[in-house]
């Protein structure tokens, strides 16, 4: 299975290596660097690279390449999924997954990697179990450790792995028992030139933060479970119950986890909460282009559209842009040709707009294609699909937990073609 792991930063330095079987020379990464050179963008490096004796499977997260070395047939998704799980774990432990964070915590990283794989096969990937084995570093603990010489490694051996609920650690105790659920929906859409929707679909997740004492058994029911077209669950969810009653019944892991991700089918009509009026033109022969963009809300059920951010990759020929935003600020990077406009909140009375001119390279011909506009936004307290949680019940424990549910709609890959 997974033989070795190399971590490579954006500038191409291998800053960490870990071997689970016999040592594989660093030079195997040369093949990776070759592929990296061939690829124009960092994202274009193929995830699976064959070399004469090994195969390299890599993922790119937070500008770090995680390159796994394998020697024989293994499902590539198996490795990819594991690598992403490693990144998630690092993020969980250190808050961020950057080269600096990894270097600062190299001992913890090593201990984690040691526990996560045995002979290249995943051993413990549940964050609850790992946290029992190796406590995440906090500033306080680091200080205490340096003074007292105590350790990050859990004194007690984990019990969760042996139980029927391997995802939950035992002996959880809180003074305030609380369970929060965030229903977050993302709209993926492609809007064509004329403003009609080419494709739009909703992807949602329910992220939970459960801090409950003991072994609570929760059930979560929806007002309209039929909306959910396709779902994937955290392993804690009892599938049979869902099949039969469309109720989520589970003993939750401790802390933050993703309970459910779902898909609202593209067959359903998706309400698009914003519209864009645009007029981007380049004239043949002239070295100037016009740029005119106006945003407006629609179908938002009275909720404000917030944190709006517009970005667009302008054609290569554009030298600079003189634009005038009615609100917010804009930046144009003349090197990458990336235009970003931080709009903020959309005021329906006074629609935000960005107008002005673009200067093209002298003598350059008119670009073939108008730029695509990517939009990000947030709408609080609303799930665009209309999904509603009916109730949350807890069994198996005596106390009354504090329960909370929050809805949010975000733009996912929301593109407007112009």
């Amino acid at each position: 299975m997974i033989h070795s792991l190399f971590l490579i930063n954006a500038s191409g330095d291998i800053f960490l290596e870990k071997h689970w079987k016999s040592v594989v020379s660093r030079s195997v990464c040369d093949y990776f660097f070759e592929a990296q050179e061939r690829a124009t963008e960092p994202e274009n490096v193929p995830p699976v690279i064959p070399t004469p004796h090994h195969y390299l499977i890599s993922v790119l997260r937070h500008r770090i390449y995680f390159v796994a070395v394998i020697q024989s047939e293994v499902p590539p998704l198996f490795v990819i999924e594991f690598l992403h799980r490693v990144v998630d774990t690092f993020q969980d432990y250190f808050g961020v997954c950057t080269e600096a964070a990894i270097k600062d915590n190299v001992v913890v990283v090593y201990e984690l990697l040691e526990e996560m794989l045995d002979n290249g096969f995943p051993l413990a990937t549940e964050s609850n179990i790992l946290k029992e084995l190796i406590k995440p570093p906090t500033i306080l603990r680091t200080m205490v450790n340096t003074i007292t010489g105590s350790t990050n490694v859990g004194e007690q051996l984990p019990t969760g792995q042996l139980s029927v609920v391997p995802w939950r650690r035992t002996g959880v105790k809180y003074t305030n028992n609380e369970a929060y659920f965030d229903v977050v929906e993302e709209i993926d859409a492609i809007i064509d030139k004329s403003g009609s929707t080419i494709t739009a679909e909703i992807q949602g997740v329910i992220d939970a933060c459960v801090k409950l004492t003991g072994m609570p058994d929760l059930t979560l029911s929806f007002m309209n479970p039929r909306l959910l077209d396709d779902v994937s669950f955290h392993p804690c969810v009892r599938f049979k119950r869902w099949e039969a009653e469309r109720i989520l019944s589970f003993i939750p892991p401790d802390g933050n986890f993703r309970l459910l991700s779902y898909h609202v089918s593209s067959q359903n009509l998706v309400a698009i909460p914003v519209y864009v009026k645009h007029n981007i033109t380049f004239r043949e022969g002239s070295s100037q282009g016009r740029f005119d963009l106006t945003l407006g809300p629609k179908q938002t059920m009275g909720k404000a559209v917030e944190s709006v951010l517009v970005s667009s990759q302008l054609p290569r020929g554009v030298l600079n842009a003189n634009l005038n935003p009615s609100q917010g600020t804009y930046t144009f990077d003349p090197v990458t040709k990336l235009l970003t406009w931080d709009v903020g909140k959309i005021n329906p009375q006074k629609l935000p707009s960005l107008k002005g001119t673009m200067n093209l390279q002298a003598g350059a011909s008119k670009p073939d294609e108008n730029p695509t506009i990517n939009i990000q936004f947030k709408i609080q307290q609303m799930a665009i699909s209309g999904l509603k949680v009916n109730r949350l019940d807890m069994y198996g424990e005596k106390y009354k937990p504090f329960k909370g549910i929050k809805y949010m709609t975000k733009a996912g890959k929301f593109q407007v073609r112009t």
Binding site: S22, P76, F239
Partner: protein
């Protein structure tokens, strides 16, 4: 890698070299801070040693942390080995772990020194703590020192039979490590694998399959007997194990089952009939169908399906490929939705999933067509994602959606990502050839692209147009002329070559332009690329043949240029062409055919997907992803023409079962006069022996029944008595003495069952073995049916007896009688048979008279139990009216109605089954015939059907018993209730309390067992009880009404204890009720089955709070 070289130098070099290397490293490393770090590290190697040898743990730890930092940077710290290895026995866990990290990294290089640490691990392997044992084995097996192979082998063998599943899991991992270290151990390791494959723990299953795949993937025979178990465990195995198991089972299934793809249409029908309850005609068709899916094949498909909902993308992909390779064609499409869902995941996941979809979409357009929009390209996608999406869109294109797709392509062609734009043009070309309606549109569109400013776009267009023109032999002079005009502006060699080739091929259609193009080429010949030169020579030759007047000189000129070209290919070609076309005395016969050779009509190229040939690899594999055969790739075999013997998967060996049936008859006659003691001995012997001891069991059971008879003279016991517990033996024998032998045979089967349960329970350490034993009984449908048929054949009376048995007395009575003894145990726990009473037994002798009288009375008077002894009263009243559930309403059942209840007796058929009594009533006006249970899906729960009721007159009702193995879950058992004409889908959902059976134990035992089940195995709640329930009797009544448990007698007044075992796995369930003031009580449940515990707790709480 210059840095690597440097490190290597350091490793090899002496102190001085290290010094030098260190400086270089420092300069290489980017920051000034790093400089400090590096230099100190190296200078402090000596310091590190000192720190490691100090007495202070904190210093040692600090040193180890620094060493780990060195290792993580890929630097050599091997010179510290002796200092580090001393700390291997440290008490500090973190220090120990870091030392392990170091050991595993360097042991291979320092083998002699590594041996120093071995004894520490050997000692740790015996540690009482399972985690210490496991980690010792982990490290020991990771030390790649050949000399310790025998030690490792021994450790693995020992760990494989460890009590802790975690240690067994570690041993499965160690198998692979040892195998990679010393392949000669293969045979021994296979033995261990074989053993671990039998393991029932979900923790072990994944790891052992990994070991199996690594060590002996060809030993498919090892899987047979574990196949069904693996299928059933699959959902509960951890996600990584699931992936490996699914892949292995895919391979397995391809060798063991016949193809479900043949005559798919017919199969389709049968599938519908399978689910459709009222389709008689189709049923007829089913009988005629040539293909029936093996139930095991179906089992696999059914049990993997829920995993499509996994959050782990690798699991979803594994299931998808399993369906692709194994499922009947019309079922494959259920994976589509999940695969499309994966496209929301990370870029790398998308990449692999799209590759697989691309391969799938070539063969099965329909699967992904409804999801076409999901493959629309976004400008933010990475290039390889874009091209894969394009590939899929092209595969999906058909007459209906081509216009939508082409509109999309128009946008993509304009993309700033030129590589992608070029790929789009190729895709357009493919669409044009595949769908003739749009060929002209595409061609026109491509011609327009020829005036594009971007060179790659133009070049790609030319190449595609060339191919298109070739497939379209109609007149396209205009396009060729247009291309000739563009020729001067096109610089991409491939495009130029393509145009030249087109000119040559169709030179007769453009007679004026072609020679002119040749003239231009003659001028620039020397500066062209090789590929262009070759095509120029070709063009010249063709023109020479068709239009020699105009081009003779030009051709000669070009041939001369070619003759002295630097490239030997061109020189060769020139020489060949010259000989071919220019007539000379040497050229001979071939010359005449030159025209036919050069201007032969050429077959049009087929524009196909790059994924066309990928289906030779199993989907989801690395080989498929790379389109090369990777090392260790296991070929997916073709379906066998005829399926190998499916009985190999029966876990129960069939022969003993068949023997068992006749032995019944034999055993009956002798009625040996053995007494209890003999019989116990027999059973003890059998505890050790595996299956195949059926002869023994039947004889022992018969002896016990007879002994029961002799010890208890009264022959007046009623039937209800007999069916429930150990007492029945006596009553049975009594009955048999009164004439009906059959009941004794029935009791024998019960006896046998009982014995199995006994086997399963008494020794904890034997748990797994016994489990697999009971599993053997539970898992072999073939064996089961044969046994039941054997039963009926051996004794024709048995059926009727069974029917009449349950027919005459109301089933409620039965259960009442049955539950009685449990409570009695409380008062009579000193009875001698208690050692054997793991399953719901009652003391056989002492309370018997009262039981008999009560049951006899109940027999006579129905449910009234008024004049029973007081001890009995508690018991009988402790169990309220039996809850009867509706199985089938007579409206939906076309006159047939069915009700069921749980008689709470050990199931006749298999110990792991829960007995269910079904009362069938005919409320229609005609008699119903052949009431039976229809085909069950193999994935569903294991159900023992009742024998077919041949005829049920109007108004009559019949009670039949069946057994269902719920596997300790409240999952509903779904099956079909069939009459001669109809089929009705019904389901039985058990309350959690019915999944238990009472277990008698003394108070001290109870307490000690309870202590073992603390922590997370304990579930408790404070409950408020209805005032009516505060008396002890009422409490036990309520508890017993909810759950089939036994009362544990206690001296303490405020404590009430109940104990039971789960029917399927025999896990202990201990219920404690501690009364507190003001009608509150603390209810505690201790069991390994935490989920059951919480459900039971809920039920009990409800029952006790009700008045």
């Amino acid at each position: 890698m210059s840095t690597t070289a440097l490190y290597n130098d350091q490793q090899g070099g002496a102190e001085a070299a290290v010094e030098a290397g260190q400086e270089t490293t420092a300069t290489i490393s980017s920051g000034g801070a790093a400089f400090g770090l590096f230099s100190t590290d190296f200078k402090k190697n000596e310091d590190l040693k000192e720190m490691l040898e100090s007495n202070k743990e904190s210093l040692k730890l600090e040193a180890m942390k620094r060493i780990v930092q060195l290792i993580s940077k890929g630097k050599n710290a091997s010179d510290l080995f002796p200092a580090v290895v001393k700390n291997v026995a440290s008490k500090n866990i973190e220090l120990k772990k870091l030392v392990y990290v170091y050991l595993v990294r360097y042991a291979e290089e320092q083998q002699d020194l590594a041996l120093l640490s071995i004894s520490t691990f050997q000692r740790a392997l015996k540690d009482p703590n399972q985690f210490i044992r496991a980690s010792a084995l982990r490290v020991l097996s990771s030390i790649r020192v050949p000399i310790i192979v025998p030690i490792m082998m021994l450790a693995i063998k020992e760990a494989a039979s460890d009590l802790s599943p975690y240690v067994r899991k570690t041993s499965a991992h160690a198998i692979q490590k040892l195998y990679s270290l010393d392949a000669d151990q293969k045979e021994h390791l296979i033995e261990v694998i074989e053993k671990l494959l039998k393991d029932k723990s979900t923790l072990v299953a994944g790891s052992v399959v990994v070991a199996f795949e690594e060590v002996c993937p060809d030993r498919i025979d090892l899987i047979h007997r574990n196949y069904r178990k693996l299928c059933n465990l699959l959902v509960d195995v951890e996600e990584w194990g699931q992936v490996v198991i699914i892949n292995m089972l895919t391979r397995y299934a391809r060798t063991q089952f016949t193809s479900p793809w043949k005559e798919d249409g017919i199969f389709d029908e049968s599938e519908k009939a399978f689910y459709d309850s009222d389709s008689e005609e189709k049923q007829g068709q089913r009988e005629a169908k040539p293909y029936i899916m093996d139930p095991d094949h179906r089992l696999l498909l059914r049990n993997t399906k829920p995993l499509l909902q996994s959050r782990n993308t690798a699991v979803v992909m594994a299931v998808a490929q399993l369906y692709w390779h194994l499922a009947p064609k019309h079922e494959v499409s259920i994976v589509t939705k999940s695969l499309v869902r994966l496209l929301r995941s990370h870029r790398e996941v998308q990449y692999v999933v799209l590759q697989n979809i691309a391969t799938m979409s070539i063969q099965r357009k329909g699967m992904f067509e409804p999801y076409m929009k999901s493959f629309y390209v976004r400008s933010t996608d990475a290039t390889h994602i874009k091209t894969l999406k394009l590939e899929i869109l092209t595969n999906l294109a058909n007459e209906a959606n081509i216009s939508t797709i082409l509109r999309g392509f128009q946008t993509y062609v304009k993309s700033q990502d030129k590589a992608f734009a070029a790929a789009t043009i190729q895709a357009i070309g493919r669409c044009a050839t595949n769908i003739s309606e749009v060929t002209d549109t595409c061609l026109n569109g491509l011609v327009l692209l020829l005036s594009n400013r971007d060179e790659t776009v133009v070049a790609e267009s030319v190449v595609v147009i060339k191919k298109l023109l070739q497939t379209q032999p109609t007149q396209h002079c205009d396009i060729i002329k247009h291309m000739a005009k563009l020729f001067d502006n096109i610089t991409v060699p491939m495009a130029r070559a393509s145009i030249l080739w087109l000119m040559g091929e169709y030179c007769e259609r453009v007679p004026k332009i072609a020679p002119d193009v040749l003239r231009k080429m003659a001028k620039t010949f020397t500066s062209e690329e090789d590929i262009v030169k070759l095509q120029t020579v070709n063009l010249a030759a063709k023109l020479y043949l068709t239009n020699s007047k105009q081009t003779k000189l030009l051709t000669q000129y070009i041939l001369n240029l070619g003759k002295y070209d630097q490239n030997y290919d061109i020189r060769d070609r020139t020489r060949f062409i010259r000989q071919l076309i220019v007539p000379s005395e040497k050229s001979g016969a071939l010359n005449k055919y030159a025209r036919r050779i050069l201007l032969a009509s050429k077959p049009a190229p087929v524009l196909e997907s790059a994924f066309k040939d990928r289906d030779r690899f199993q989907l989801g594999t690395l080989s498929h992803s790379l389109n090369i055969k990777t090392t260790g790739y296991q070929e997916l075999s073709d379906w066998p023409a005829t399926a190998p013997d499916p009985s190999v998967r029966n876990v129960e060996v069939i022969e003993p079962v068949q023997e068992w049936a006749p032995s019944l008859g034999k055993a009956k006659k002798p009625k040996s006069d053995k007494f209890y003691s003999d019989d116990e001995e027999d059973e003890k012997e059998e505890e050790g022996s595996g299956s195949g001891s059926e002869d023994d069991s039947s004889s022992s059971s018969s002896s016990s029944s007879s002994s029961g008879g002799s010890s208890e003279e009264s022959g007046s016991a009623s039937e209800e008595e007999s069916s429930g517990d150990s007492e029945k033996t006596s009553s049975d024998s009594g009955k048999s003495s009164s004439g009906s032998e059959v009941s004794s045979s029935e009791s024998e089967s019960k006896q046998k069952k009982k014995k199995l349960t006994k086997k399963a329970t008494p020794r904890k350490s034997k748990q797994t073995a016994a489990d697999s034993d009971s599993d053997e009984n539970g898992n072999g449908p073939v064996g089961k049916t044969s046994s039941s048929s054997a039963e009926s054949s051996s004794d024709s009376e048995s059926d009727s007896e069974e029917d009449s048995d349950s027919d005459s007395p109301a089933p409620q009575k039965k259960t009442v009688a049955k539950t009685k003894p449990k409570v009695e145990v409380k008062s009579k726990k000193e009875v001698s048979l208690l050692d054997l009473d793991d399953f719901s037994p009652a003391p056989p002798s002492a309370p018997k008279s009262s039981v008999f009288s009560s049951s006899l009375l109940s027999d006579l008077e129905g449910l009234s139990l008024s004049n029973v002894s007081s001890a009995m009263q508690v018991t009988s009243s402790s169990f309220g009216p039996v809850k009867t559930y509706e199985l089938l309403h007579h409206m939906t059942g076309k006159g047939l109605s069915a009700k069921y209840h749980f008689p709470r007796q050990p199931c006749l058929y298999q110990p792991s089954m829960v007995a269910v009594q079904v009362i069938l009533t005919n409320s229609s006006d005609h008699s119903l015939e052949e009431i039976h249970i229809g085909d069950r899906s193999p994935g569903s729960l294991n159900v023992h059907c009742f024998n077919t009721v041949e005829r049920l007159e109007p108004g009559a009702s019949v009670s039949v018993s069946m057994g269902i193995d719920f596997s300790d879950s409240t999952q509903a058992a779904n099956f079909q209730l069939c009459t001669k004409e109809d089929q009705f889908s019904v389901s039985i959902q058990p309350a959690v309390g019915e999944l238990l059976m009472p277990s008698t134990m003394k108070e001290p035992d109870f307490c000690s067992e309870q202590k073992k089940l603390m922590g997370m195995n304990e579930t408790s709640a404070t409950i408020t009880m209805a005032t009516a329930n505060t008396s002890k009797q009422n409490i036990s009544k309520q508890v017993l009404s909810v759950a089939n448990v036994g009362v544990v007698s206690s001296d303490q007044n405020n404590l009430q204890r109940f104990s039971g075992r789960t029917v399927s796995s025999g896990a202990l369930v201990l219920v404690t009720l501690e009364l507190r003031e003001s009608s509150t009580a603390l209810l505690t449940i201790n069991t390994e089955k935490t989920v059951m515990a919480s459900m039971l707790l809920r039920d009990l709480k409800q029952a006790l709070s009700q008045a």
